[in-house]
């Protein structure tokens, strides 16, 4: 039961990340491989606030989300101003820089050994330690995220974002600010990823750089691609399917070092196969 609750809670956290990635990659059409780094920033900030100050858990998550918004605005502005293509470089840069900070800034992040002992979330005096209890929190987080995503997609802003993906020039010709819309989308994606990071850190109570590296970003992208880009259903389905994969691989008897490479290889293969034969994923729209 614990095992299943853990799987569900993790999948729900990854749904938030999926929404974040989907918003950028699927809806606006900006390629990004830095989602995991932003996720990590959220996780480390939440961990820091809870371990070194008496900040209550909800406030810590809000601060993490806020700082991730700020971070995303700061880094996307210069490159998006020029061309969407150059954002590829920016996102690789942020990802590698993020990994460098998580690994080498030993004082703040515990370095490659990670940061153990992140306290469990406490809300109104109740401590959410057991996976079953935490499931409630992650479900609320996922629910809020999905609601937010759904509302944005219905709002004129959602229409604007989709229009930018189809024809940037036409949107600009209508007098809309393309840059502002793109940066707003990136900021929103930052909020999703940052709060997911906060939930992740407090759920596992241990974080290390390997959860937030380039491979993790590729994993997030695979999740969205397999589930289906551009739709809410796709972002929800993807994490539940892909997080089951390591469990299945664990049933096959292979050495641990080889298993990590095999898992990542499968994610890459899924990306290629879906792009070639089913760009809309399981429940999405055509990319």
């Amino acid at each position: 039961m614990d095992f299943f609750a853990t799987y569900l809670a993790l999948a729900e956290i990854y749904v938030l990340l999926g929404l974040s990635t989907n918003l950028l990659v699927g809806i606006v059409g900006i390629f990004s491989v830095s989602q995991a780094a932003v996720f990590g920033v959220g996780a480390y900030i939440t961990a820091f606030l809870l371990m070194h100050s008496s900040t209550p858990f909800p406030l810590a998550i809000l601060v993490a989300a806020g700082l991730c918004i700020l971070l995303n605005i700061l880094v996307t502005l210069p490159s998006l101003r020029v061309s969407g293509d150059y954002f590829v470089v920016t996102s690789f840069g942020i990802q590698l820089l993020g990994t460098a900070v998580f690994t080498n800034w030993t004082k703040g992040t515990g370095g490659a050994n990670g940061l153990p002992g992140v306290p469990a979330p406490i809300i109104l005096g109740h401590e959410f330690i057991e996976p079953q209890e935490f499931l409630l929190l992650s479900s609320i987080g996922m629910g809020l995220g999905c609601l937010c995503f759904w509302l944005i997609m219905r709002a004129p802003f959602g229409g604007l974002l989709r229009a930018i993906r189809e024809d940037e020039l036409a949107v600009a010709a209508l007098g809309k600010s393309v840059l502002r819309a793109k940066v707003s989308a990136a900021a929103l994606a930052g909020a999703f990823a940052g709060s997911a990071g906060g939930l992740y850190a407090t759920f596992l109570s241990f974080i290390d750089p390997s959860s937030f590296d380039l491979d993790a970003s590729i994993f997030l992208l695979t999740m969205v691609v397999v589930g289906g880009a551009r739709t809410l259903a796709g972002s929800v389905l993807g994490p539940f399917v892909l997080l089951a994969l390591p469990q299945i691989l664990a049933l096959i008897d292979i050495p641990a070092s080889f298993a990590a490479a095999l898992r990542q290889l499968i994610y890459g293969l899924l990306l290629i196969v879906f792009m070639l034969f089913r760009p809309q994923g399981l429940l999405g729209e055509r990319l």
């Binding site: 101003r81 020029v82 460098a100 890459g268």
Partner: protein, 285 residues
């Protein structure tokens, strides 16, 4: 004299980086897609050469074999993956995701086959040093400089003096016009990917002679090279090579003031500065 050593190291490292930059510049200017997969071809080249040497092949045969093999792999990637996507009218985003997937597959296949531990070539001659003007250079470093300069001159000669080079530049400047004048952009793209992949293999073999082989070493290298290409001006081979030298020197000189783990920050900082003040790069009109 630490700074002088760092300067020399930077120039040598810049020659290796320059080869990756020229390769990326060639591919990006022609196909207009950000290919991430050459990062994996870079790693593949080193491992192929290593395997051939372990089976007793002489060093130059191993290098040549790896270069040819990488060229073929590049052509195959273009033919089997990118061209298929292109025929289905795939967007940039789709090609980019597929390219990232391919890089992940290749790198992890290498990691699975050779483990992700650092492998050393263990060649005694590679680390033998010669003193040139007071600076001690290893044979590997001298080879890197020779190959870097030769690659730059070769690429310039190829692009401006040969028929295929002119065809590539024609396709790069106007794919539509190239199509209707029967320059066959699809075949040109295959040639470009083959040449680019073969070139990226050279530093892929030379750099590990010094530092050892790692399956995932290609990504930071490709990112830095990409930044050199953008800062130098997309399409300019000289710009790409020059900026690769500059970035490598700055990375090395930055060691005077901060530890090496942060050099990615320097590289990325250069990119941001260019994005803010000269987004089209140095060498474009």
């Amino acid at each position: 004299m630490l700074w002088l050593n760092l300067l020399i190291n930077g120039l040598i490292w810049g020659c290796a980086l320059g080869m990756v930059a020229i390769s990326f510049s060639l591919i990006f200017a022609t196909t207009r897609f950000f290919h991430v997969a050459p990062a994996a071809v870079y790693s593949l080249g080193g491992y192929l050469a290593w395997s051939m040497m372990k089976r007793g092949a002489p060093e130059w045969v191993a290098l040549l074999g790896a270069v040819v093999a990488c060229g073929l792999v590049g052509a195959a990637i273009q033919k089997l993956l990118y061209e298929r996507l292109d025929r289905r009218g795939a967007t940039h985003l789709v090609v980019l995701i597929a390219s990232l997937g391919l890089a992940a597959v290749m790198q992890n296949a290498i990691a699975g086959a050779y483990t992700s531990n650092v492998l050393q070539f263990g060649l005694p001659w590679a680390n033998r040093t010669t003193s040139i003007g007071g600076a001690l250079l290893t044979n590997t470093q001298m080879l890197t400089v020779c190959f870097g300069v030769l690659s730059y001159l070769g690429a310039m000669w190829f692009a401006h003096r040969t028929l295929l080079g002119k065809r590539i530049r024609a396709v790069a400047s106007n794919p539509f016009l190239a199509e209707i004048t029967r320059l066959e952009p699809r075949r040109v793209h295959i040639a470009v990917m083959a040449i680019g992949s073969a070139m990226v293999c050279i530093p892929g073999v030379l750099v590990p002679l010094d530092l050892g082989l790692q399956p995932f070493g290609g990504v930071p290298m490709l990112l830095t090279a990409t930044i050199a290409v953008i800062a130098g001006g997309v399409g300019s081979i000289s710009g790409a090579f020059l900026l690769a030298l500059v970035i490598a020197v700055l990375q090395n000189l930055s060691l005077l003031v901060m530890p090496g783990e942060w050099s990615i920050g320097i590289t990325f900082g250069i990119f941001i500065i260019f994005m803010l003040f000269r987004p089209r790069g140095l060498f474009t009109g």
